[in-house]
Symmetry: C2
Subunit: 173 residues, 2 copies
């Protein structure tokens, strides 16, 4: 079923992504084009303590909406996902995880990007200081798990990594 | 929290995506760059009958892997997500849904794409004929729900829309 790369062209080399246009040979011998967004990947952390989930709300330009998400961020080049998870959680919410469990990795949109998001569970943490990036504006809130479930079902929560993390949590518990 | 667009530049206008580089004014008055992949969105269908889940396995070039997914496909321009869900299910698996319930929409990677995937549940269907796109090579299998849950937890299933659809199903049932 594998496709063989015949040619690759770097269309754009940006700050958070690279875009490639490749041509591939399909299993039936025909040629097809593949537009691929290369992304360094990220880590995201589901914080649940006393049956309350830590969600952040953040304006996302791509959707022109304020979106509820679990804390997350991009991996630095060569950075270990566990380290990135600890760092982003602390930067975005001021929480330092005392225990961080790996839940799994997800592929957000496998048709055109190679991005991998690593999901973690923090069930114990202490509060420290936030330190946002200079173009990040984030509000954190602690929402009962039963309300988070309702917010998924009624369409208030739409972010895939957040829904996947809750899915993992429900499967494990 | 809103960001105001100051400038937009179309970097690439492709077959399945467009890439834009915008500059925006942040709430603190500073300017930031936003790299945005515009995508027409898609529909995906969770088929569950007799506690068995219909999964397809398909080689995905971006990851150089065969990936388990629920049947899905891109929306045509102006196409209704419900129509696209019915069409893709039939094309990829030969199943015609007799009942299609809307589960919700997900945002796969809200930092850089405007893609929306609409999730549906088909709990009753009949088998017809498959008709793949000429560059699609797909195998369908019916896997017990309890095994699908294990495949998520052990990392065999990584596709975000598939994990989200199972998450919705668990929350509803």
């Amino acid at each position: 079923m594998k496709e063989i790369r015949l040619n690759t062209e770097l269309i754009y080399d940006g700050k958070i992504l690279k875009l490639y246009k490749d041509s591939v040979k399909c299993p039936n011998g025909k040629t097809a084009a593949r537009e691929i967004v290369k992304h360094n990947g990220g880590s995201a952390v589901l914080c649940i303590k006393d049956d309350k989930v830590l969600l952040i709300s953040q304006y996302r330009y791509a959707y022109d909406e304020v979106i509820y998400e679990i804390p997350a961020g991009k991996l630095e080049v060569g950075e270990d996902p566990h380290t990135a998870a600890l760092r982003e959680l602390e930067e975005e919410t001021g929480n330092k995880a005392l225990k961080l469990e790996y839940l799994g990795k997800i592929y957000p949109s496998c048709g055109y990007t190679n991005e991998i998001i690593h999901l973690f569970l923090a069930s114990d943490y202490v509060e420290t200081q936030t330190s946002f990036d200079e173009d990040e504006f984030i509000e954190a809130s602690y929402i009962p798990l039963k309300d988070v479930k309702k917010m998924i079902l009624d369409g208030t929560i739409t972010d895939a990594k957040t829904i996947c993390a809750i899915g993992y949590y429900l499967l494990k518990n």
